[in-house]
Symmetry: C2
Subunit: 198 residues, 2 copies
Amino acid sequence: MLDSLEELVGALSKLPTIGRKSAWRLALYLMERPESEVKHFADTVFSVRQKIRRCDVCFNYSENEMCTVCASQARDRSVICVVEKPTDVFTIEKAGRYRGLYHVLGGLLSPLNGITAEKLFIAQLVERLHTNEIKEVIIGLGGSSDAETTGLYLAKILGGKKIKLTRFARGLPAGLELEYVDQLTLTQALNERIDILS
Amino acid sequence: MLDSLEELVGALSKLPTIGRKSAWRLALYLMERPESEVKHFADTVFSVRQKIRRCDVCFNYSENEMCTVCASQARDRSVICVVEKPTDVFTIEKAGRYRGLYHVLGGLLSPLNGITAEKLFIAQLVERLHTNEIKEVIIGLGGSSDAETTGLYLAKILGGKKIKLTRFARGLPAGLELEYVDQLTLTQALNERIDILS
């Protein structure tokens, strides 16, 4: 009926998690906003996309050749935390306790979905270990089975090098009562229990 | 950490039903798409907003001064269906059986939320009835209490005119088994029952 509105709904419904119904709601919302506001929104979308690239070193998102973490002189350059995607860097940075560098893989190994090691920034990680004074690599991946697979693969190819290889601890999440903790998490928390007197 | 990305997340999370988490997901999705595709998306958003205005007659969305329904010579110009918002026009048009005109109120009366008659296109509806050969006004509002209030208000101000005033039938929705129908709907279906022999 209104081709241009249909076109906008089509464009919006291509976004992840936005179905046709949500797309209609968003489109109608945008039609109700002042033209200047919608222009600003559209400009933001494109200008940010235009500004953002991957850091040449760690493959995190960056506005420059090197991201703010890699470029910072305040970071501990002997530790690299390997994460799946740029949001993971944001998440860890928000916690504010990690002072080392990062390496973003750009995904997780998932042979069934055609994600092989060549499609991730794994070779570039190995390269960084050759050329830098890295003492420790922390595998900072999540708890999914693809994350497990990826962690095991990295352990295999990095295991031969004289570099300390660690991974995030598994155990009880903060603030959750025991009765709400799933059995696998509980088993991991038991297996990786810490001697509180040592 | 990355101001431009934060800016995009902020802009996206202003959209209805998009929280900060969804906004991050959308932003990261957009960062992964080719620049040309994101440019096309942003252009679509703004150009559609720029093209769309309200029809001078019925206040439906339109690309011209008059919407396609109002401009059509094939429509029955003696009937106006009063609806809340432009999507309602799309919904009724999709069903494909209504051949009259529309009038979009631009909302429902909701005194508690400050939506009074002056904020809706009600005066313009009354105006259309003065100047045109309208024989019937169909109140095509939904079943919410604000819709009821608005319908009653319209009945009051239009009741004095020599125009047939109808509203959508209330009753059982198509395809729903009786056991899933709520009690109010069932009561309405009973109250508005039709003589099948007449």
